[in-house]
Symmetry: C2
Subunit: 364 residues, 2 copies
């Protein structure tokens, strides 16, 4: 027994020694490269609490998801049979490979129809106060139903989309596992409400934490450079921060495009007015998120520029009535690039095959 | 020192005991569920070697890949900027979510042009003796260049596609890491040859091992049912096996569509004749792979049926001059469904952003 105890101690000791070696190697590496812990740099005492007052808040990581629902939502996000043609998916316009957007002036839809407005990114879209540029959908769930039935987008309708899922036994099983059986009929009846709920659940996971800027907010001093820090200071001083703040760095208010000077590049998109029919809501849009902004050109609802520096200058001119120096613009752009976070790591889903009762795709 | 040795022995003994417990739990689980090892069922003595003579060969798993090249190829496979519109990717028509095909009669391309022929699956395509239905590309690398420059497909051209990659520093770095610097200029010059080479390298990894049928071939008796086995016997007896054999269960010969009876459903697609201009190659096509066939409706180069049973009957009628009973057809279909293997597990790539010198997408 004594020998047993002794050998246990030896085992533990060996583990301790090995771990100490690993740790010291890691620290040595860090010191050598001057990087500090991970992307962030070493944390300095007190810095973290000081930055809790900053108007931009870091994205917190949440693991409290309904995994089965998120997995189903992911399948639906990549499901071409939700479109009339059997070819267009949510991901077609909100491509997770390219910042959650399609990087086109306006999206391509059914029969190559071109949409009327630039597609916003799906990344971090849960931080928006409402969805679409004009806020006509109150949340992601309500948004998800729109494109499926929009003749310029996926070109289908809710009845057809649901009937296709209903014809595929795997979907019937997954929906009933998550949403239960139909109360009235005791049957497995998929509803559009469930479809959009699952898509929204997946989309809510599409956040991009650990940006250099968030790491700085969290107290890792070296995760942004001096220039980037100066850019952030300018971003606050010039007034950009008034609209672009919070977790999403935007997305939490509606603002008129053209506060300081009427916006003359696009005068036919009426924005929030389409929802409220209130004259003062003409040219009012939801303030877009600035997270991952370097990945989602072209910019603005009308995609009027592909260049982030030009976008900053347009904002300053039309919203703040300011003209920035080249140095100021480039510093703000440098700051904006620190808002790019970890892109969602998604395993491409495998979808179940159609059956003899599945409606055929219609490319016309 | 003796104590040191002794404690080592104790440590090893503890590991052995723990592993034995884990193993016995696993075996108990298997016995309880009656599943045996994995999908395959328990192996019976001698069965494996007996099945080495079967005309269909299992897909062997290969880990001998150039990982960096495969990763680059994956990015390119999902890269919309290889198309003129900046919207269509290899995956648009060879969707890894749906059996490596688009499950459309013919593919949708640039400006919603509809292609002339059904898109074959990319899965297991390395087992084809050549690529395209008419075999006009000798391998996957040669194939990959086609759709990029086809005005009905991705609508771009090789110069434009390469110049776009060249304008993105991350791509320049990845290509030079894999292919080295340009010999003549000592510079990092991306070529279309490298682009198609990397795409082909990724596509070569897209195999689907571990189908129930392959497990049976490998000696796991219970991995196919009696009915499925009878279906396989019929598949051989009726003569399907003459063309559909080997690792791909097809893909290794050209055959006339209409050997026993002229194929009257499509008389304008000339097939191999377009390549050879030899009169006897009219209506001759590469025999398609039957692996994962249940996932890739509609069937045949002309997509003349969506129903696997009907496809089996058409083949028997036009190729073999046979009329199957319903029971025979359904047994063969049951066998064909055992050819569905593990679908490739792919982490959706994150693509680098365009720069100010990247050519803009052109949707027209």
């Amino acid at each position: 027994m004594n020998t047993g105890k002794f050998s246990t101690i030896i085992c533990l000791l060996a583990f301790f020694v090995i771990n100490t070696i690993i740790l010291s190697v890691t620290i040595a590496d860090e010191q050598q490269s001057g990087v500090g812990y991970g992307r962030g740099g070493r944390m300095s005492g007190g810095a973290s609490s000081a930055r809790e007052d900053e108007p931009i808040k870091p994205i917190s990581i949440n693991f409290d998801y309904n995994r089965a629902k998120v997995e189903l939502g992911k399948k639906l996000f990549f499901e071409p049979r939700l479109s009339k043609s059997g070819w267009i998916t949510c991901n077609s316009c909100h491509n997770l490979a390219t910042g959650g957007a399609d990087n086109l002036p306006t999206s391509i839809g059914h029969k190559w129809f071109l949409g009327p407005i630039n597609s916003p990114t799906v990344l971090n879209s849960k931080f928006n106060l409402a969805q679409f540029w004009d806020g006509r959908a109150k949340d992601l769930k309500e948004q998800a139903g729109g494109p499926i039935a929009n003749p310029l987008e996926m070109g289908s309708n809710h009845e057809l989309a649901v009937s296709i899922l209903q014809s595929i036994p795997e979907y019937v099983q997954w929906f009933s596992e998550i949403y239960g059986l139909d109360e009235m009929y005791g049957d497995e009846i998929i509803t559009i409400d469930q479809v959009t709920d699952a898509i929204a659940a997946f989309e809510e996971t599409l956040v991009t934490p650990n940006s250099n800027f968030d790491n700085w907010l969290n107290g890792y001093d070296n995760s942004i450079s001096e220039i980037e820090k100066e850019g952030y200071d300018l971003f606050k001083e010039k007034g950009c921060i008034v609209c672009h703040n919070g977790v999403g760095v935007g997305g939490n208010s509606y603002q008129k495009f053209g506060i300081a000077k009427p916006y003359d590049k696009d005068t036919h998109t009426l924005g929030r007015y389409n929802v409220t029919k209130d004259e003062k809501d003409k040219y009012v849009f939801k303030v877009p998120l600035l997270r991952n902004i370097e990945l989602t050109a072209p910019y603005f609802h009308d995609a009027s520029t592909w260049d982030l520096a030009e976008a900053v200058n347009i904002m300053n001119e039309y919203q703040l009535g300011l003209k920035l120096t080249d140095s100021e613009t480039s510093k703000i752009v440098a700051f904006l690039r620190t808002l790019t976070g970890d892109q969602p790591s998604v395993i491409f889903p495998i979808l179940p095959p159609s059956t003899s009762t599945t409606a055929k795709p219609n490319r016309n």
